[in-house]
């Protein structure tokens, strides 16, 4: 309570005593500025004028220092009224420090929230952009997948066809292999086993014939030895047919010489071989391949071509090897033969496979009146140069 004339405090309630930290006695007779309220003189007088004029004054938010110097925020409401015919001023001071703090915290939280929201918004924008981009990619890949699917479908069909062809080829090879095995088995039995049985019989006879004279004994032994020689020759022949030892022991040219000489002797063919010494620097795999191609080609000539001449040529043209087997016999339809289900076709495919395996290629030319030319071309890298 204030006296409007002296502006001094006339009464103070316990709340304000506690708030300001002054005792009631200390507060009585003091002016407001002395307890740290409305310290500004001009503002102070202005406040009293407004109070007298309007009958009340209200400050939402006044700074105030307590006795201990603590900063407080207060709400200050002041009313002027008559009490028992005398003007009095009642000031209601309420501590809003806590409220203010909460409000500040709230504002900070709101600001934080706003910042957060803004961040989120930015994030959303970025994410949206990303999603859009990803969507585009997805669309593109969906498109390409469907295109790819179509391509793969075609490839798949092609591969299925190829697989069928391969399967057919594999079966053919197996069947030819089986035929060859049957032949070897039969020949082994006829030529080797029978001879060995014969040897055994002779030996048995020798064991029993102790009464034989030395000459007869020698004759029997000599006969037995002939049988042994015969079986050695037969086994030797088998081994040669399976894999010519001369190719491993001496090389391609001696192997071709040996082979072609035998063919010429057994058929009516006249064979010319032109080759060069340097071919032996080729690795054994490629030389084996060349040998097998010559063998297959010449076998075909003997079997099918009714030719009188075969020209086998191995030449070197800069960095390639060209191998030709040319005959003057009757021609054959190359494409049809390659498509037919015959052993000749298998032989041709086998040659092609062998040559492609070592990085070369095979061509077959056959024309009426011109005979057939099988030509293999492959890169020439000698063992030493590699």
């Amino acid at each position: 309570m204030l006296d409007p004339v002296t502006r001094k405090i006339t009464e103070a309630n316990p709340y304000i005593v506690k708030l300001l930290g002054y005792s009631r006695k200390q507060l009585i007779k003091k002016e407001l500025w002395e307890i740290g309220l409305l310290k500004d003189e001009v503002a102070n007088q202005q406040a009293f004028r407004t109070l007298k004029h309007k009958g009340s004054i209200r400050y939402e938010n006044l700074p105030l220092s307590s006795k201990t110097g603590q900063r407080l925020e207060v709400e200050f409401v002041s009313n002027l009224y008559l009490e028992q015919g005398k003007e009095v001023i009642q000031c209601n001071i309420r501590d809003i420090t806590a409220r203010k703090q909460i409000e500040a915290a709230l504002r900070a939280a709101q600001a934080q929230l706003a910042a957060h929201a803004q961040g989120l918004e930015k994030l959303v924008i970025i994410r949206t952009a990303k999603v859009t981009a990803t969507n585009k990619l997805l669309e593109a890949s969906v498109k390409s997948v469907s295109q790819g699917r179509e391509k793969y479908r075609v490839l798949f069909l092609a591969s299925q066809l190829m697989q069928k062809k391969l399967q057919h080829l594999a079966r053919q090879i197996l069947s030819v292999q089986e035929d060859e095995r049957r032949k070897i088995s039969r020949d082994l039995h006829d030529e080797v086993v029978q001879t060995l049985v014969g040897i055994n019989v002779e030996l048995g006879a020798l064991g029993r014939a102790s009464s034989l004279g030395p000459e007869a004994l020698k004759a029997k032994i000599s006969l037995t030895q002939q049988l042994v020689e015969k079986s050695v020759t037969a086994v030797h022949q088998f081994a040669r047919e399976l894999r010519p030892a001369v190719l491993d022991d001496l090389g391609l040219n001696p192997a071709l010489h040996t082979y072609l000489k035998t063919v010429a002797a057994e058929s009516k063919l006249q064979i010319r071989l032109t080759t060069f010494d340097g071919i032996e620097t080729l690795d054994i795999g490629k030389r084996t391949m060349l040998y097998r191609v010559v063998q297959e080609s010449v076998t075909n000539v003997v079997r099918h071509a009714q030719a009188s001449l075969v020209d086998v040529g191995i030449s070197r043209i800069s960095r390639t090897i060209c191998m030709e087997v040319r005959d003057n016999g009757k021609s054959f339809p190359v494409e049809q033969t390659l498509a037919a289900k015959t052993n000749k076709r298998l032989g041709l495919l086998g040659m092609r496979e062998r040559i492609e395996m070592v990085g070369g290629n095979l061509t077959i030319e056959s024309a009426a009146g011109q005979g057939t030319t099988i030509r293999a071309v492959l890169p020439f890298r000698s063992r030493n140069a590699a």
Binding site: L250, R272, L273
Partner: protein, 228 residues
Amino acid sequence: MKSLKKTTILIVDDSTIVRKSLCSLLKSEGHFTVVGQARNGREGVRLARTLRPDVILMDIAMPVLNGLEATREILTANPQAKVLMLSAHSDDAYIERMTAVGAFGFIEKQKVSEHLASAIDQAAKGNRFFSPAIATRMAHGKNWSRDPDGSLKPNGVRLTPRERAVIRFVAGKRTNQQIATTLGISLVAIRKHRQDVMDKLNIHETADLTHYAATHGRSGSDVTVTIF
């Protein structure tokens, strides 16, 4: 006979059975003594150097080092060594290679019991020995000819440098006149070379010569032609 020095022998063969039977065969003859046995060419070369046997019996197909290479090495170190080759292979190509590496003789493995003793005896005396069938083939076969150095060769022909030049020009589609001018020899000489080439190659048609030249015209000097 006891005063005679026994013939010392080294056996080089990768088959134990063959080594054993050769040993027993040689033992039965009485005047041979097996001084060493090797299981591959490399061992053979080493034992030949340390044992210096009178005669070496050499297989062809062996691991590590084959008999042909081993023979070559042995003779390089000691040109007086006498190597008799023993093999089941008797193709001309083998005989050619054996003589080329300097083998002193050859017996087919099938004929060993028949000929081995006399082959060793001959070799010890300094005479070459080839199985009768092989010797006949080498002497009379039209497939054989002797090089100036005495080694036998199958009758492959090599074109002379002049003939190869002619082939090259044919490949280049030159006329005889152009070739004659370029080489500076007469047209008659060119015709003769051409005919020689055609004879050597068993070619009767000009078109065939052209084709042949196109294929082999640029090949080097190591080309051999063989007619079977």
